[in-house]
Amino acid sequence: MILGGGTGGTLTANRLRREYSAAEMRITVVDQDDRHVYQPGLLFVPFGLAHPEEIVRPRGRQLHDGIEFRQCAIDHVDIETNHVYLADGSVLDYDVLVIATGAVLVPEETVGLTGPGWMEKVFTFYTPEGAGALEAALATFDGGRVAVNVVDMPIKCPVAPLEFCFLADWYFRERGIRDQVELTYVTPLDGAFTKPVASAQLGGMLAEKGIELVTEFNTGDVDGASGRLTSYDGREVDFDLAVIVPLHSGAAYVARSPGLGDELNFVPTDEHTLQSKAAPNVFVIGDAANVPASKAGSVTHFEGETLVANVRRYLEAEPLEPGFDGHTNCFIESGFHKALLIDFNYDTEPLPGHFPTSVGLPLLKESRLNHLGKLMFQWFYWHSLLPGRDIPGVGSSMPTAGKTTTALGGTRKD
């Protein structure tokens, strides 16, 4: 039984279907809707570089033959009796449960965010509707203060708000009005990014592009009417247009399922085996887990191999394999048809060099090749990731062959 038909649920179902015959295993995927969003595409929508309908496909059609798709909201899970209760009153039982219901946005948890000005001058590009509304607002924006604000971590794709800043700089330059726009990146972190080497590089890029960086800003209040962000410690950032990445939580049914989730509704999960800490026959993939990895599609993809191997081991009563190393790989769009690539895991922060080997894509450095990689990734997503196949030459564990470790000065800093 797989809850969630997004990246993690789909690739898990397809991988399991290849591993097991219909006689050996029945596979059901439950999701509340039939809209599978290619989430990396949302970043491009506000700048007119993608359209919402191009990045949404039916969920059921991404699932291979022999997988049942059940469209219904989930009320709760009873991990004691192995039952899933659906909103329509039906009850499903399972031998193994895979939780793949991702993260949801909870803008209503921030004072004022969904009040006056929401979707008029306060937007988020993290939903197709928000990204579409922001495209219309940007098209008529002819100058003023733009604040890009992450309310708090964790968020999906922690580099996306930085990419938004870089693309906004490019977009306003293309329109010839960059000198009339004050662009500010407001983050709760103490730098541009979480990891030291990448944070220094990305912080430098913000400065080069004339984007102001405001750090350690814990947003307490968004006032859309007067155009002001206020932090809990009383600092203020004024805006004419705000692009907000709202707080994230796990899916709401997790809170209604006794013993399943933590205080933010994410599911406590072993970071290497991907078995939940709630029950031995419950596994977790992707953004729904509380593991200390980025909430990103690449993480979910790299988790797939370990997760499916461990479901098999569980069913055969063998010890689980601590196979997942936290591998994360992100293209960072930087505008002007260029992008950076970063690659890291639980133990190694993003380093310069090349990926996956010394003759591959440049790491932590702007290049046109990485921009093409980012664009090509959409094809790989629908045709390789979701079917549960590996990308040629890119294994699940983090490669080290092409990396320069001297950037660390010989010591680890975490």
Partner: protein
């Protein structure tokens, strides 16, 4: 890395001022640790948050973020900032002798 003496005991702090060995911490170090963070005197409300941080770390292996602290400690985020104006999670973690909360990946 540096060695600092609190309550007559030498402890090791990392470059960001967090305990390298959380087991070196004892509760009688709290007033001196708090003074280093500009917090004086230490009230019962401060101690409630510091004990909560310490327990969370000991049971879960990591200190909570401000958001989680606001949801679970019984102290609102506004009040947490009044107690620890320079950032509740970070400052309280330093005083509680635990590593930097890893809420941010």
């Amino acid at each position: 890395m540096s060695t600092v003496t609190f309550a007559s005991t030498d402890v090791e702090l990392n470059e960001e001022g967090f305990f390298t060995h959380p087991e070196q911490w004892t509760e009688d170090m709290v007033p001196e640790l708090a003074r280093r963070e500009g917090i004086e005197p230490v009230t019962d409300a401060h101690r409630q948050v510091i004990r909560f941080m310490r327990n969370e770390y000991l049971t879960k292996g990591a200190g909570p973020s401000v958001r989680v602290l606001g949801k679970t400690s019984g102290v609102s985020i506004k009040e947490l900032y009044r107690l620890f104006p320079k950032g509740p999670a970070k400052i309280a973690a330093r005083i509680a002798g635990i590593p930097k909360p890893r809420g941010c990946i």
